[in-house]
C-alpha cells in the first residue's frame, strides 16, 4: 500500500476493539479512532485507555492512523492518543483559532515528551458548526500543522436537511466555500457531495460512489466515511 494515499478515511469508535480490527482490514487509507461522536460519555475514559492499542492494531495492517478529538476536552484526548506511530488528529467542531493554537501547543509538548519528531502530528479540521465555517480562514490559519479541511458532519451538527431537488440545504454553498478556503491556504479539501437520501457520512456503497464522483468534480481529494463498505468506492474515485 502506498502509505501517502489518503483517499478514504474510515471513522471508528476507539472504544470498540472489534470495530477497530475490522477497520484496519477494510482497505481504508486512514483509520480515524474516534473519541468524540461514536463514544458515549460514560465510555470516554475507557476509549482513551484503549487508544494506543487500537493505534498499534491499525498500523500493523498498514493503514495510517488519526485520532478524532473533542476540542472541549483536548488535553485528555491528546494525552491518550498522541504516541509514536500516530499520523495526525482530526479536530471535531473546530471553530476557534485560539483553541487550535492551544491544541498545537499541547501537540508540541507531547511530541517532545514522547520522543516524536517535532511537528510530526498533522491536523485535519472538521468545520461542522456555523461559526467554524464563518471563520474558516482564520481557524485554518491558526496552526501550521493544518493539512486538510472537511465539513465532517456539518449537515447533522447544523441540522441541514434535504431540499426537493435532493441537495442538502446549504451544502453546495458550504462545499464550494470550503474548497476555495482550503486551496487558498494550500491544504487539502476532504469530503464528498452527499445528497438525499444519504445522511451524515452514512450511505450505501453505490451512493458513496456517486457522492465521491460529484465530490471529486467539485475539488475534494478524499473523504471521510463511517462504514467499511464505503471504503472501496472512495478509493476507486479518489485515486
Amino acid at each position: 500500500m502506498n502509505n501517502n494515499l489518503q483517499r478514504s478515511w474510515l471513522i471508528v469508535p476507539a472504544s470498540s476493539a472489534d470495530a477497530v480490527a475490522k477497520a484496519a482490514k477494510s482497505g481504508a487509507d486512514v483509520v480515524v479512532l474516534d473519541l468524540v461522536e461514536l463514544v458515549r460519555d460514560a465510555q470516554k475514559p475507557a476509549a482513551r485507555e484503549q487508544c494506543r492499542a487500537a493505534m498499534d492494531a491499525v498500523r500493523a495492517c498498514g493503514a495510517q492512523v488519526f485520532a478524532q478529538i473533542d476540542p472541549q476536552h483536548h488535553e485528555a484526548d491528546l494525552r491518550a492518543s498522541v504516541w509514536p506511530g500516530l499520523d495526525g488528529i482530526v479536530v471535531s467542531r473546530a471553530e476557534s483559532p485560539a483553541r487550535i493554537m492551544a491544541i498545537d501547543k499541547v501537540l508540541t509538548a507531547l511530541e517532545t515528551e514522547r520522543g516524536m519528531p517535532a511537528g510530526a502530528i498533522g491536523m485535519v479540521l472538521a468545520l461542522e458548526t456555523a461559526r467554524g465555517n464563518q471563520d474558516a480562514y482564520e481557524v485554518a490559519s491558526a496552526s501550521r500543522r493544518v493539512r486538510a479541511l472537511t465539513l465532517g458532519r456539518a449537515d447533522l451538527v447544523m441540522d441541514l436537511r434535504p431540499e426537493p431537488s435532493g441537495e442538502i440545504h446549504q451544502m453546495p454553498y458550504l462545499m464550494e466555500r470550503l474548497v476555495i478556503i482550503a486551496r487558498a491556504l494550500n491544504v487539502t479539501p476532504l469530503g464528498a457531495w452527499w445528497r438525499a437520501p444519504d445522511r451524515g457520512l452514512l450511505a450505501t456503497a453505490e451512493n458513496t460512489l456517486q457522492a465521491a464522483k460529484r465530490g471529486r468534480a467539485v475539488g475534494f481529494k478524499g473523504a471521510l466515511c463511517l462504514r467499511a463498505d464505503q471504503v472501496e468506492p472512495l478509493n476507486k474515485i479518489y485515486a
Binding site: P13, L38, R40, Q134, L156, E163, P164, H169, Y173, R177
Partner: protein, 320 residues
C-alpha cells in the same frame, strides 16, 4: 438562541390603501408589514407617514404583529413616523453597511425612550437586496442586537436588478447570496430566513398551491421563518405549510421512543426500519415538538383576538 417567534405568514400592504389596512385583521397573518416603500408613490410619502400610528392597532388587534417597511432614502423621517407602541419591527430595505444599521438602531432607541416603549422592543430586519449588501452581509447581521432573524431568500426584484440576473429561471442562480446570509445568521445564532430552491418560471405571487409546496419544502428543511406574501391567497398556505403536520408530530414521538431504546445500549446509533436513530435525530424530534406547540399557542392567541374583534363589531352593529 432565544425562543423563536412564530412568524409563518405575513402580507406586505401599502399603508395608503385603507381597504387593505382596515381588513388586515381578517387575513390570519402572523404579521403584517405596513409599507412606506415601493407600494407608496413618491407624492404620497408624507401622507403615508401620518398613517402609521393609527394603522398599527388596526393590525395588532387580531393578534397579528405589525411591522413597518421604511424607505432606505428616508431613514430619519420614516423611522420617526414608525416607532409607536405596538410596532414589532422595522424592515430596512437595501441595507448595505453595518453603519446604516447602527444609525437606524440609534434612531429607534431614541424614539422608544421618547414614546414610552420599553428599550429594545423593536426589531430591525435588514433587507439584503444589493451586491454591496451581500459583500457586507456578516457585519450587517452582527450590527445590532435588534436583529433576531436574518437571511436572504431567492433574490427578489431589487437583487435581480442590481446583479443583472433574471428572476424567473429554472435553475438556482442565488446559491452564493443565500448561502452567505444563511451562514451569517446561523453563526450569530439568529433565526434563519431561507428557502429551498424551487423553480418559479411563471412569476406568480398569488398561487396558493405553489405557496403551500414552498412552505412545506421549507419546513422539511427545518426552516421556520415565513411570510413575504403579497396576496391574501398565500396566507393560509404559509400558516399550514410552516406548521408541523400530525404526521410530523407522530414521527417525532416515534423517534424519541426509539432514542429511549438506544439510550439503554452502548451503541452510538440504532438502525430502525431503515432509519438512523441517534442524538441528532432526537434533537430534531424535540425541536419539531416544541415548534408544534409554539404554532398551536400562536394559533390560539390569534383566534382569541379575532373572536374579540368580531364580538366588538357585532355589538357595534346591534347598537346602530
Amino acid at each position: 438562541m432565544a425562543q423563536q417567534k412564530v412568524r409563518r405568514s405575513g402580507l406586505t400592504m401599502p399603508i395608503v390603501t385603507p381597504r387593505f389596512v382596515d381588513q388586515a385583521w381578517r387575513r390570519g397573518c402572523d404579521f403584517v408589514t405596513l409599507d412606506l416603500e415601493d407600494s407608496v408613490p413618491q407624492n404620497r410619502k408624507d401622507y403615508a407617514r401620518t398613517l402609521v400610528k393609527e394603522s398599527i392597532p388596526k393590525v395588532t388587534r387580531a393578534g397579528t404583529e405589525a411591522f413597518v417597511r421604511i424607505n432606505h432614502e428616508h431613514l430619519q423621517a420614516d423611522t420617526a413616523a414608525a416607532v409607536w407602541p405596538g410596532l414589532s419591527r422595522i424592515k430596512y430595505p437595501k441595507t448595505e453597511t453595518a453603519d446604516e444599521v447602527r444609525a437606524l438602531d440609534a434612531l429607534i432607541t431614541r424614539y422608544e425612550r421618547e414614546r414610552g416603549i420599553p428599550s429594545g422592543t423593536i426589531e430591525i430586519d435588514p433587507g439584503i437586496e444589493t451586491a454591496v449588501g451581500v459583500t457586507n452581509v456578516y457585519d450587517i447581521a452582527a450590527a445590532s442586537p435588534r436583529i433576531k432573524e436574518f437571511g436572504a431568500t431567492n433574490g427578489g426584484y431589487d437583487m435581480s436588478r442590481d446583479l443583472g440576473v433574471e428572476m424567473f429561471v429554472p435553475y438556482d442562480q442565488f446559491v452564493y447570496l443565500r448561502g452567505e446570509a444563511n451562514l451569517a445568521a446561523r453563526a450569530l445564532g439568529l433565526g434563519v430566513r431561507a428557502a429551498p430552491f424551487i423553480a418559479n418560471t411563471t412569476g406568480s405571487v398569488s398561487d396558493g398551491n405553489r405557496a403551500l409546496r414552498l412552505a412545506e419544502a421549507a419546513r422539511a428543511c427545518g426552516l421556520r421563518v415565513g411570510g413575504g406574501g403579497l396576496n391574501p391567497a398565500v396566507v393560509e398556505s404559509h400558516n399550514i405549510g410552516y406548521t408541523p403536520s400530525g404526521a410530523d408530530v407522530r414521527d417525532a414521538h416515534w423517534v424519541l421512543e426509539q432514542f429511549e431504546r438506544l439510550q439503554a445500549t452502548d451503541a452510538p446509533w440504532l438502525e430502525v426500519e431503515g432509519r438512523v436513530i441517534d442524538r441528532y435525530e432526537a434533537e430534531r424530534a424535540r425541536g419539531t415538538l416544541q415548534w408544534a406547540e409554539s404554532c398551536a399557542a400562536r394559533n390560539r392567541e390569534k383566534a382569541e383576538a379575532v373572536a374579540k374583534v368580531r364580538a366588538q363589531l357585532e355589538q357595534q352593529q346591534a347598537q346602530q
